[in-house]
Symmetry: none
Subunit: 224 residues, 2 copies
Amino acid sequence: MENKKKILIADDEPDILEILKFNLEADGFVVETAKDGNSAIEKAKSFLPDLIILDIMMPGKNGIEVCNILRQTPLFKNTLIIFLTAISDDASEVKGLESGADDYLTKPIRPKVLISKVNALFRRIPIDNSKKIQIGDLRIDRERFIIVYKSEEIILARKEFELLALLASKPGKVFLRNEILNSIWGTEVIVGDRTIDVHIRKIRQKLNLDCITTVKGVGYKFEL
Amino acid sequence: MENKKKILIADDEPDILEILKFNLEADGFVVETAKDGNSAIEKAKSFLPDLIILDIMMPGKNGIEVCNILRQTPLFKNTLIIFLTAISDDASEVKGLESGADDYLTKPIRPKVLISKVNALFRRIPIDNSKKIQIGDLRIDRERFIIVYKSEEIILARKEFELLALLASKPGKVFLRNEILNSIWGTEVIVGDRTIDVHIRKIRQKLNLDCITTVKGVGYKFEL
DNA sequence: TTATTTTATTATCAAATTGTTAAGCAAGGT
DNA sequence: ACCTTGCTTAACAATTTGATAATAAAATAA
């Protein structure tokens, strides 16, 4: 099950980023980092993490502002958010939690404790990524039937969606025309060969991305 | 709001119990207390709290033992548990979280922070039978068959209500027409396809809100 | 190079799907 | 019995989708 949870860390201190990244990766998480508030939001949109660890004091937007912005975005309504900070006065802790965060940790960082907390949260909030495919900046969500490329939603018709999802399910693999026909149209229905081409063309057009390669005489493959 | 959340506090220091009880009750929770591990388990069984706050050092069974026992009981598999303690070394904190707790607070107690944490946890876990759904400004109360949008009550017929509640139970997820038919009409009854559309239309009309999206050839999804 | 095969592109049309409205029925209340 | 309400359906409009044919372009083989 290639279903590792994704964590985004935003902090302006490189040391902290490194320590956290190292420890979380050692525990089997996929980690990305950002070094200020604005890039955290950008990264979040492209990376779509399951959990975001936000330092409160950062250049640009501070952690609480970032949290508020994220919580207003439907995509991040349910994303877990943990604040991380040196400030440990009650008022700001309360403020942080009330802005929609799920937990609040104070520095100095104790990696083991952080990991326990992260696991405790994931234990509670089961996140199902099984119907999601992500390749680079392209995300395919079978459950929601949406395709997002660099935080921009692309609308595909059903057959187009299924075709892209099929190809993207195994990036690099060449799908024979027969395989494609069987997977998407089944063995009952019979359609002409040009039909596939036309759908491929529409996907290429809508994605406006050079990601589907033709292997002449064989089939097509997806590769970013 | 009939549905006050119930909290059980277990600690051997009467002062702590009193402070916590006072603050939590002031915030609208129903609180019971226990003064050692064994009575905590007893109280839990009769009181059936939504959240248990456990001191680690207690006579009889300590907090971690209590937590382990509770977690082995199906009844308390999903009950929220917060540890409370004067010990703040990493190892015991990790141990506490790994024994199945959801959070770990160190003394001295800061009531405001505690309450924020409690609320953050309840925000995540829809304890009461998931009878209530809240998405943005839209509230759906399955128990009372009431829909409220921005403090304005909207009256839906039963089928409309069930349909909306179904879609809203997993915002973003596309429900296939078949899924919808099975969930709301069951496998026995067979109704025409237009029936769903008509109900969808009525919901859209009554809510006057662009929240139900058609995914042609697939189904419908709710998204605010 | 030329011929042949395979794929790309485009426009078009038929089929499938959904939206909308009105009307019929059944159940419950007055 | 009458009225109201909710559910379903029929009928039609509007829209979207998918498949194909026709033609161009590209790759491959002879």
